[in-house]
């Protein structure tokens, strides 16, 4: 009997665990280790953050699902890997510390034959002094509880606006190396719609503050796509949308410090600026969760397995090279760790070889460089292909990965909500193929396939996003035929 341990139960880890159990059946063990007791459909947190959806609608408890699927679940945090085992046992082990209230703080080591690191990100609010709900100056929509806090603060601001007092609302990213600009974009437009709905839009200034070099970059270098029969850049598309909704934007900004009511940021020309605010939702940068690794003798080998960012090294080309030499081929295909063939890193937990957008820095060396997004559709796909590879290794004796899903080949669709409601909802639907531009394959269209790189705005896109919410919760709950819903 083989044992596969999956660290993390987000989109990637949960998908991997479900597919593994489906393939492996009762003859092999699948164990999931996750510090949280609930699964969260993160894309809908933005609606919780404007008070349009209850937090209970975006989460569900994991334990009953895993009990039904015969997957062993440990509510615990992984803290250390021992891929060569210890002095007594050569089997790989992972050390976990329980967060389960019934045995909180208890430490245990789990042996494994295969390990999937899907631990996701550590929300690194500490990277910017004063950033985040704990520091108290800004709100966040990264977790359901953060989003509830954001909705509460937004309601207070709307009450103030109704009293006739002008307010400034800033939404964006809180560091020069943040990712997930798409989520910040969505939240900004949903906030704007809330203000419209409350009849206070004229008293409010809404500002989108971002590290993107231009609007529509989204950390993927922007897109040029077919929209309404014409070729248009995502930059021009977004500028039009911002004007239509009377939103302001500050780009090329690295937020350096948040004081009460004041955001301090530096732009790539080195100018230091401040922006006053009454409400600010700024996303944090991400880093790895801080897993350590040790060999059999107890010597630390963290640097062998993890990149300095804390994310796991996989089959990417990590050779440092200038932007003009980056290629789609640099990106991992199998997500297998190069040192330990029975370990894989998926979703946000794998170390990307480099960014996708061109990185910039201020004259003083401060990075203004969006990190590459690795969430949603590609994240689920990575979880699935790694599950299939491990199942083939266990069941068929495959010696090398049998499935691949490179971001240099994969397409992705992004539905960016710009307002909710069955009749007044609206969203920007974008698809791109591949996610990482392949300039060798598509030299004339900025590295992307013009047939499948598209964009449109409308009510239909909002309906799609709402349907995706229901479908992915259905899939994640592993209801009948869940596997027919693609990642």
């Amino acid at each position: 009997m083989a044992r596969v341990v999956v660290l993390g139960a987000g989109v990637s880890g949960h998908t991997a665990a479900l597919y593994l159990k489906k393939r492996l059946g009762r003859d092999h063990e699948v164990i999931v280790v996750s510090p949280g007791s609930k699964w969260n459909w993160i894309p809908s947190n933005i609606w919780v953050g404007v008070g349009k959806m209850g937090a209970d609608k975006v989460v569900f408890p994991l334990a009953p699902i895993y009990r039904r699927k015969r997957i062993e679940f440990h509510q615990a945090k992984a803290v250390a890997l021992y891929p060569d085992g210890d002095a007594h046992n050569p089997r790989g082990q992972v050390e976990i510390v329980y967060t389960d209230p019934t045995r909180v703080g208890t430490t245990e080591r789990l042996g494994y034959d295969y390990l999937i690191n899907a631990t996701g990100p550590q929300l690194n609010f500490a990277a910017t002094p004063g950033l985040g709900p704990d520091a108290g100056n800004t709100v966040s929509v990264c977790t359901p509880s953060h989003a509830v806090g954001a909705a509460k603060r937004l309601a207070e601001v709307i009450t103030t606006l109704k009293a006739g007092i002008p307010q400034t609302l800033v939404v964006g990213v809180g560091h020069g190396t943040c990712t997930c600009e798409g989520a910040a974009f969505e939240y900004a437009f949903n906030v704007e719609q809330e203000l419209q709905g409350a009849g206070v839009r004229d008293k409010a200034e809404v500002i989108y503050l971002t590290n993107e070099h231009e609007l529509g970059d989204f950390g993927v270098g922007g897109m040029t796509f077919n929209s309404g029969g014409a070729r248009v850049t995502s930059e021009a598309w977004m500028e039009s949308l911002f004007r239509e909704r009377r939103m302001k934007a500050i780009t090329q900004a690295a937020v350096t410090r948040i004081d009460p009511g004041v955001i301090n940021y530096t732009q790539i020309d080195g100018t230091e600026n401040t922006q006053k605010f009454d409400f600010a939702m700024l996303l944090p940068p991400f880093r790895g969760v801080g897993l350590k690794a040790f060999d059999r003798t107890g010597a630390e080998i963290t640097d062998t397995i993890f990149a300095p960012s804390g994310f796991m090294r996989v089959d990417a080309d990590y050779t440092a090279k200038p932007f003009d030499e980056w290629t789609a081929e640099d990106w991992p295909k199998t997500y297998q760790n190069p040192t330990y063939a029975n370990m894989f890193g998926v979703g946000i937990a794998f170390a990307p070889p480099h960014a996708i957008s061109r990185p910039y820095a201020t004259p003083g060396g401060l990075a203004v460089a969006p990190a590459p997004p690795r969430t949603g559709m590609p994240s689920g796909a990575m979880g699935k292909v790694v599950a299939m590879t491990i199942a083939d290794m266990i069941l068929k004796g495959a010696l090398a990965p049998t499935h691949h899903a490179s971001m240099g080949e994969m397409a992705a669709a992004c539905i960016a909500s710009t307002g909710t409601g069955l009749r007044r909802g609206t969203a920007a639907a974008m698809s791109m193929s591949p996610i990482v531009p392949d300039n060798a394959r598509y030299p004339d269209t900025n590295g992307r396939d013009p047939r499948t790189t598209t964009g449109e705005i409308g009510l239909a896109a909002h309906w799609v996003k709402r349907v995706l919410h229901t479908m992915f919760l259905y899939k994640a709950k592993a209801y009948p035929f869940w596997y027919l819903i693609p990642e």
Binding site: E214, L215, G228, A236, E239, S240, F242, R243, E244, M247, K248, A249, I250, T251, Q252, M377, A381, K384, V385, H403, H404, A405, E409, M410, A411, A412, A413, R423, T426, A429, S431, S433, T452, T454, E456, I457, G458, L459, A460, A461, W463, V464, V467, P486, E487
Partner: protein
């Protein structure tokens, strides 16, 4: 220097026909079906 805000201020606004298309229930129902089909095809073909 042209700032992003300058570009936003000069950006073209959607015309009346485009705004009507974005909210017309018949058109959007068709687009909804097309978008779902496109996304399904992309997801199935990408790995």
């Amino acid at each position: 220097m042209t700032t992003t805000q300058d570009r936003i201020d000069r950006a073209p606004l959607p015309g009346a026909a485009e705004l009507a298309r974005r909210s017309n229930l018949g058109v959007q129902l068709l687009r909804f079906l097309m978008l779902n089909f496109t996304m399904y095809r992309l997801a199935k073909s990408s790995h």
